[in-house]
Symmetry: C2
């Protein structure tokens, strides 16, 4: 059976990546899995372990980091957060794709630890539209909007480190493009594929 | 306007790459162009200049080679054959895709001269089926079939140098996969794309 792939999806706030990923999982069903983060923060009411987060003690978290069982992790406001490697490996080995929605810093760390990922950046149709989306209902001050725009531009500066850029000017079109990318990446030539075919030939002789 | 891309398609004889390419061009119409080779051999009855080949004198051919106007060329049985760069560049600049069907040696030369191509290898469903296809109607001697199989294996040895491998076990499925690859490659992040968006932001301010 052919292995699954890890698809890492990033993009500035307000660009609609969450909606795109929802539609992708609705379309692909069980063949795709969303990566769930692990954290040491306490569960909040309604949080389900393994769905919203994997809830770990600090000891568990740190010991798994030392064992190399995280694709990336960070310490934010007194708590650890990270992407556990084991569920990704299990899914990929079982032929399922994994979608990991993560910010650019996290994505760059994943890129260092996991060579075979596919990196997709979701882009706004234009600067003007991004500004509109980040302005909320016009209730935000110009200062807050400028701050958000500056952050978004900092993120877009990482675009060149991604494999694909999908412009979310039309939701259906953006979803189709991500689906095309997922299907195309299943045709990627993998290490040792030629050798496997040639050894099949040698065995036949 | 977004530039087109060059798709280089190879695969062993008998694998059905010609039929796949026919269907792709039928599906994509004017948005895609087949690359036409140039040659110094004489036109045969029915040959149309610019359709079957570009027919050049030896002087013209050699002078264009010196000027770097070929993606690749070879001298075979007393004649030059090659892939002219100019029609590819013109199409790509005009936003059209180009499909170049070429053997592995030619594809490897193109890879050296043209960095931005997408390399697709068409694979047989199995060794057994490839052997059947190369046996013709069973009229070929075992020696000839073995020779053809050996050649095919030599070609498959280049698979790892290609970006994608498409198994032609079902024609419709193989055509869909090549179409997925073409669509996905249009989402590839290009050099300078981030800088362009960020400068749009700077101008807006």
């Amino acid at each position: 059976m052919k292995k699954g792939r890890l698809f890492v999806v990033s993009g500035p706030s307000g660009v609609g990546k969450g909606t795109i990923i929802e539609q992708i999982t609705a379309r692909l069903g069980d063949s795709v899995m969303l990566s769930v983060s692990a954290t040491t923060r306490d569960p909040r009411p309604g949080d389900v372990d393994g769905v919203n987060y994997y809830f770990l003690t600090e000891e568990e978290f740190v010991s798994r980091v030392s064992a190399g069982r995280f694709l990336e992790h960070a310490y934010v406001h007194g708590h650890y957060y990270g992407t556990p490697l084991d569920p990704v490996e299990a899914a990929v080995e079982a032929g399922r794709d994994v979608i990991l929605e993560i910010d650019v810093q996290g994505a760059m760390k994943v890129k260092e630890t996991y060579g075979e990922g596919v990196y997709i950046f979701i882009l706004p149709p234009s600067i003007k539209i991004l500004r509109e989306r980040l302005s909320g209902r016009g209730t935000e001050t110009a200062e807050v909007v400028d701050q958000r725009m500056g952050k978004a531009m900092g993120e877009i500066g990482y675009l060149d480190r991604y494999d694909y850029g999908v412009v979310n000017d039309d939701l259906d079109r953006a979803v189709e493009q991500v689906l095309d990318i997922i299907k195309a990446e299943h045709c990627r030539v993998m290490d040792g594929e030629a050798e496997q075919i040639i050894s099949e030939y040698r065995e036949e002789k």
